[in-house]
């Protein structure tokens, strides 16, 4: 089961590609099915812009909804996305913990610097391989794993990634990304209305340079 944990943890990493946003404006319903990576697609320019952001640093607020809890559990933290090194999420509330998601898998690091690797789950294949393309907005790879529903209202847009594989779908549910122009504003991992994780991007900086100390502390 700890492996299943890894899968869910990785989803949180998806907001790595988020750009700065003033306020989330979620669109209520998913859009029609869109072919991923299709030449001349209307969505091609958006994917290209999101993919070209480079290193990103954001603050975020995470709301976890459980079916047995009346109110969500709220977490806050910092996200770092470094090209070639993956994603690092540092939770600052309720406790200091860092989660690193990269090609090698998922690593949890506590405030004393002790690391613990979360092994992958055999039942769902390589979850990192499935989700890292989402971090990178890699259309070609995304197309192998997900179906895309997309809708746009003015500058605002909503992308729904639906796993093709049933086992992955059971664990991940649907990944929904809201944004405006080239900025991601909110993410949601939705298994049902009462079981979901909302991630709201509070602010974001693209093209940042991480110091060596930060790279050692927040990546592996």
């Amino acid at each position: 089961m700890i492996r299943s944990c890894a899968i869910v943890i990785v989803y949180l990493a998806v907001f790595a590609f988020c750009g700065a946003a003033d306020a989330p404006s979620p669109l209520a319903e998913p859009g029609p099915l869109v072919e991923l990576g299709g030449a001349g697609s209307d969505w091609q320019p958006l994917f290209e812009k999101l993919a070209a952001q480079g290193n990103v640093f954001s603050h975020f607020t995470e709301n976890r909804w459980f079916p047995f809890k009346k109110i969500p559990v709220v977490l806050k933290g910092e996200m770092r996305l470094a090209a070639g090194r993956g994603m690092s999420l540092r939770y600052t509330q309720p406790e200091d913990r860092t989660m690193i998601v990269d090609e090698r898998g998922v690593l949890l690091r506590d405030d004393r610097g002790h690391s613990r690797e979360v092994p992958p789950d055999p039942r769902s294949g390589n979850i990192n391989a499935a989700l890292l393309p989402v971090l990178r907005f890699d259309q070609k790879e995304l197309g192998k794993t997900f179906l895309l529903h997309a809708v746009r209202v003015g500058g605002a847009w909503r992308l729904d990634f639906v796993p093709r594989d049933a086992a992955l779908a059971k664990i991940v549910g649907r990944i929904i990304v809201w944004g405006e122009e080239a900025k991601v504003q909110q993410l949601e991992f939705r298994r049902s209305n009462s079981q979901r994780v909302e991630i709201i991007i509070d602010d974001s900086q693209a093209g940042v340079v991480f110091s060596d100390a930060d790279q050692n502390r927040f990546f592996r």
Partner: protein, 779 residues
């Protein structure tokens, strides 16, 4: 008895002895009698029970594991087809007990279901005990049930803020006490289940039916693997198999050892006969020495196989040197000229029997002491050498009794002596002796000792590289260490594991320890449950209230409340039975993680750091990563062998004092001891690392060079030069042991080189001493 009748009687006796010996050897079942298992070198009644268990485990359980990595490129369906074909073929083979593809999660799921089903029996006692300690340490103003209910709600709230919580959200309504999530933390890393990622090799774990040390665990396994590989190739022609099993390595090692055994024996015999032929006046007469060697070897084989149920093959490899030693008695009898023309053989034997017996019996006494060694290999070697030498002496005495002329002259160069008396020669000889003395006194201080069990086998680099690659794919990592904790029953094993965990947490703070034993409560915690739950009726309403207070929907936890009531109403299982039902569901690699059988209970633990200090004895836990514990064991046996050798040498020295008087005995004894110290000194100065087999070689070398000292002293007492037999003996011994130096088995090489060095040193000393003292003798 007339000479003619005496001759034929002796021949008959020799024939009967030879036929009896050969008949005995012919009826033996060599597959059963001769072992190539390195673990057979360790005593079955090894005094440390953890090591005995480790040996048993390694021999019976772990050694049967075969690991396979199947590389198949291409689409997943093709990969799966190849792996399915491979696994199906192995499963169909009677050579395998169990075959599991690691991407198959069935075994892990079965364990998960069982733990979940038994979680209140298995995990609640420890959870209650920990909470009780915390509660007892506080002011206890709140009732126990209310305090605990509040703690549950608070911890659940905290837990939901961790990354892991999302993975467990489905089971939390049935497990708000967080029994399972906490257990997962403490068993993480035990499961080798691996996803089938991209083009990464597909991993298959299997357990063979037969022991890998025996034929049934080798031949049929190899056939099954070949068939399975063919099945995989039929599904995916580019499939590539890499695999490792103890049986595969043991088979390759056995093949190479057997090859060495025949090769070294033949080479040794040829070298000895070659030197004899070179130094004797008539080459054909040198053949009279062959029966002495063969008689010695035959006697050694018969005695060893008679006395020991199972003999390690290394004894025979090392025993191949016996030819070079056994021929000595032939030399001493055959090359000794008659005291007068037509001296009867009986008179000649009567003249030589004292030094012959002195040299043979002192060596035998020395080697007989090895029978008290703890190590079976050393005991077997002691018998092999002792019996071989006695047989060689008996054969020599009998053989030359039926030879017409029991004397053969050596060629001139073999008995040539330097007759001049030049100061330069004397100074040179003195200089060499002085230098040798300095080396003997100073060099041994630079010696380094280290024993490595891997040196007992012939390395098979290609197989070992493949094995390392495959094991790495299966998660073997130098940064992790495997421990085994044992006990006579579940309760003692679990209690020891608890002590080991406490020691580990103190010794390696922050490092994780994963063990399936954590899924079981200690007996103390298990027995305390009725007391902890006494007056606990208010717990359910208290918990409902606490959950509501902390923002939970108490009704959502109905599965837990329902199970709680059922569990409280049901009779409790027996402690041992509960452990048994958990372990019974273990399959595949997980099966190796725990055992709760009568008299053989153990838990494996994996820790997240390289090996460090050994755990204390009261934890009944030993490190089983790699071969370190075996190496330590061999190091201990070396100390034991050193003690025995010292006693043996003491006895040899004492027998010299008894036979030749204190002063003369001491002079005789100085030669072998000095030669040995010189050899060790030389090895120390050249930076060699020595092991148990260097020590054994030294002991053998001392006993052999001791013979030269005796014969030199005997001749000196009669005012004669050292007999040529010493030269021939030393040269043949050095040749036969030098040939052992060609062995690919590191320890055999060590033994051969040590003996050759000591006997050559002794020979040089025997030659130099008269040169060095010539002038002073005259003056």
């Amino acid at each position: 008895m007339s000479y003619f009748r005496q001759k034929w009687f002796v021949r008959l006796l020799l024939a009967v002895m030879a036929l009896g010996g050969l008949a005995w050897l012919a009826h033996l079942d060599y597959n059963r009698k001769i072992s190539t298992n390195v673990l057979d070198l360790i005593p079955t009644d090894e005094r440390a029970p953890e090591l005995a268990l480790t040996r048993e485990l390694a021999s019976e359980e772990q050694s049967r594991v075969a690991l396979f990595a199947l590389d198949v490129r291409g689409i997943p369906a093709r990969r799966e087809a190849a792996v399915d074909a491979f696994v199906r073929t192995l499963r169909d083979s009677p050579a395998f007990d169990e075959v599991v593809a690691l991407h198959d999660t069935a075994a892990r799921d079965a364990l998960g279901k069982q733990v979940f089903k038994q979680r209140l029996d298995l995990l609640l006692p420890g959870w209650l005990e920990n909470n009780w300690k915390e509660y007892s340490a506080g002011d206890r103003h709140e009732p126990w049930a209310d305090w605990l209910a509040e703690r549950v709600a608070v911890r659940l709230q905290e837990y939901l803020g961790t990354p892991e919580a999302l993975a467990f959200q489905e089971i939390l309504p049935a497990d708000p006490l967080l029994l399972l999530p906490k257990l997962i933390d403490s068993v993480q890393g035990l499961d080798a289940t691996a996803p089938a990622q991209g083009d990464a090799p597909m991993l298959i774990w299997a357990r063979t039916k037969g022991s890998p040390w025996k034929d049934e665990g080798q031949g049929p396994v190899f056939v099954a693997v070949r068939q399975a590989e063919a099945a995989a190739l039929a599904a995916a022609p580019d499939a590539k198999l890499r695999w490792v099993s103890i049986g595969r390595i043991a088979s390759a090692s056995r093949e190479r050892i057997e090859h060495e055994l025949s090769g070294l024996n033949l080479l040794s015999l040829a070298a000895v006969m070659g030197i004899a032929a070179l130094c004797l006046r008539r080459v054909d007469k040198a053949l009279h020495l062959a029966p002495v060697m063969l008689g010695g070897l035959l006697g050694a084989w018969v005695a060893t196989t008679l006395l020991f149920d199972r003999v390690h093959i290394l004894v025979f490899v090392v025993g191949s040197l016996l030819g070079g030693v056994a021929v000595d008695y032939g030399f001493y009898l055959y090359l000794q000229p008659p005291a007068f023309p037509d001296e009867p053989y009986g008179a000649k034997v009567g003249r030589l029997i004292k030094p012959l017996l002195a040299s043979a019996l002192t060596t035998v006494i020395g080697f007989s002491l090895l029978l008290f060694s703890e190590l079976p290999l050393i005991r077997q070697l002691g018998v092999f050498v002792s019996a071989g030498l006695l047989s060689a002496l008996a054969t020599a005495l009998l053989w030359f009794a039926q030879v017409g002329t029991p004397f053969m002259q050596t060629r001139g160069f073999a008995r040539a002596r330097f007759t001049g008396d030049h100061p330069i020669v004397r100074r040179f000889a003195l200089g060499l002796l002085l230098a040798g003395t300095l080396v003997a006194l100073g060099g041994p201080w630079f010696l380094h000792w280290r024993d490595d069990i891997r040196e007992l086998e012939i390395p098979t680099p290609a197989l070992q590289t493949e094995a390392k690659d495959v094991r790495t794919l299966f998660g073997e990592d130098a940064q992790r260490t495997l421990f085994i904790t044992r006990g006579n029953n579940v309760a003692t094993a679990r209690a020891s594991l608890a002590r080991f965990e406490a020691w580990h947490a103190h010794e390696h703070p922050g490092e994780t320890l994963a063990s399936l034993g954590n899924a079981l409560p200690t007996l103390a915690a298990w027995q305390a449950v009725p007391e902890r739950l006494g007056g606990f009726d208010m717990f359910v309403p208290s918990l409902r209230a606490a959950l509501e207070r902390h923002g939970f929907e108490a009704a959502a936890f109905a599965p837990f409340f329902s199970e709680w009531q059922t569990w409280r109403a049901a009779p409790r299982p027996e402690y041992e039975a509960m452990a048994g039902s958990l372990v019974a569901v273990l399959r595949g690699p997980l099966q190796m993680m725990a055992s709760v059988g009568p008299g053989r209970c153990w838990f494996f633990s994996i820790v997240s750091h390289p090996p460090g200090r050994e755990p204390p004895a009261d934890t009944s836990t030993v490190n089983v990563s790699g071969l370190e514990n075996m190496n330590q064991l061999f190091g201990r046996y070396r100390v034991s062998a050193l003690r025995l050798s010292a006693w043996g040498l003491g006895l040899v020295g004492l027998s010299m004092a008894v036979l030749y008087g204190v002063w003369r005995g001491a002079k005789i004894f100085a030669l072998p001891v000095g030669s040995c110290l010189f050899a060790f000194g030389l090895l120390g100065l050249t930076g060699q690392t020595l092991n148990l087999f260097h020590l054994l070689g030294a002991f053998l070398g001392v006993c052999l060079s001791h013979n030269y000292a005796i014969f030199t002293a005997e001749n000196a007492a009669r005012g004669e030069e050292s007999p040529p037999s010493i030269r021939l003996s030393a040269l043949t011994t050095a040749a036969s042991f030098g040939i052992l130096g060609l062995s690919k088995i590191p320890v055999v090489k060590a033994l051969g080189a040590t003996v050759a060095l000591i006997v050559l040193t002794a020979l040089v000393a025997v030659e130099l001493v008269p040169l060095a003292r010539r002038k002073s003798n005259r003056s």
